[in-house]
Symmetry: C2
Amino acid sequence: MSLVIIGTVAFDALETPFGKTDKIVGGAATYIGLSASYSVKPVKIVAVVGDDFPQSDILLLQEHGVDTEGLQIKEGEKSFFWSGKYSNDLNSRETLVTELNVLADFDPVLPDSYQDCKYLMLGNLSPQVQRLVIQRLVNRPKLIVMDTMNFWMDIALEELKTTIEMVDVLSINDEEARQLSGEHSLVKAANVIMAMGPKYLIIKKGEHGALLFHRKGNTNHVFYAPALPLEEVFDPTGAGDTFAGGFIGHLAATDDISFENMKRAVVHGSAMASFCVEKFGTERLLNLSQEEIEAREQLFADLVAVQPAMAVAQG
Amino acid sequence: MSLVIIGTVAFDALETPFGKTDKIVGGAATYIGLSASYSVKPVKIVAVVGDDFPQSDILLLQEHGVDTEGLQIKEGEKSFFWSGKYSNDLNSRETLVTELNVLADFDPVLPDSYQDCKYLMLGNLSPQVQRLVIQRLVNRPKLIVMDTMNFWMDIALEELKTTIEMVDVLSINDEEARQLSGEHSLVKAANVIMAMGPKYLIIKKGEHGALLFHRKGNTNHVFYAPALPLEEVFDPTGAGDTFAGGFIGHLAATDDISFENMKRAVVHGSAMASFCVEKFGTERLLNLSQEEIEAREQLFADLVAVQPAMAVAQG
């Protein structure tokens, strides 16, 4: 049940209505890895940083069960840096700074010890780099989950489609699903996207939850996991990656890729994401207990639970 | 379990990306009444039309179990008329024409036969008129549900708050909840609004479903009913009223206002609304079978159903 994750390990500087941070550790592989580590260990990451990245933060990842053998450290170079500012309602954000640095020519080298990969999570990166990882694995993983974003649809659509064709599960948000498919209806969008290759599609709708679609033969299955109505979202950074990490972590831990188990993985991922947004950056993901996670999953179950009526009088 | 509904019975002219209609029968009381009639009969409506309103349409309502004794017909006057055009994605609409006509000085007269009212649905109307109906009932109903809209928040906020204070359940959409409360977080908004009087609050989120909040003592309960992901929404007109009609119809039929039964009422209302949007105006609400309705409710249940894992291995 070896789990390999590719993505960024980076610095973020964040500004939300509740405050701002200096450079803190972020990046898709960081969030995905930490989130998945609550389900399965080790989590093997493939990523690149510069020599400005603190050894203490690499140790922190390792303490959480993240295998960093595939984390390249480029001497004399700087780590990827992103800075953004959220709107007052947290529904939009403005990019203030993007410094690609080591990411500009990232070559994802897989250590031999990663070749047992059974579950592969392609965090948001260029579709070419994502595809290289699939190609460099001697055996195709049992399940490949891919995250991406509108940026690649804008500048590298054909490359993106080539990679999408190779994966089992695609995870994108509602606006991205509309952009990728050209359809406004999410049901139609899902059909168009699943025809591109993936048998499963997750459409993330932020505060409105997530939809899981699956086409099997001529039958479409759909599952709706609501998001927990939260009193306060402190910092949405990394919520999508944390969701993805929880999703694939649960699948890798249970080694069960039935649609029924994917539903549970979506609920688990949603629960992990609901923790992530409670504090800045990865802070809330560093010290969760299994009891907290199970209690949160129970809240998700309670949220939609309807007891059948014992006897319903119909007029 | 007598159910009384107040609202408009009117003409609409609609334009959606799929076509346009001439003047067709619409109005909140029409949608609410037809929707509720699938749960309970009779549905007693209080409304006003002009003498331009076809007798055949009044008969159609009566055939569905709508008691029209409280429907005033004003000789020499014209019915309320609204015309609107929807955007291509159906998420917004532009009002083309609003002719108040008989609605301008609507005095909601309650026939004596309506005084047994146990369930009262206040469809969207001026908060003064809604309040008059409560005041004209000799005995306070067991449950009062109120619908309203941002228009009244803009022009009659204090009147609106006075009426809201008198009801048990308020039903509004997410943007209206934010406007009424001044809070962006729907959880905070719900707390502010329930502090205004209603013990229950329904926040309708359109394609994202509906939230039901309930404060009991110091404990808040919340229920999330997702909307069915639909391939095509043909005409959203009346969906909110159809939801409300299904909601109060189910409660009146079962005469059970427990939170658990309100959840079932929300699911039933959501199912009824999902039919409404499939065709223009009230068309789809005129010929539904109980089998169709039950099958639709089952789809809602299946959409969020997660089977517990038999044995989940945790890494």
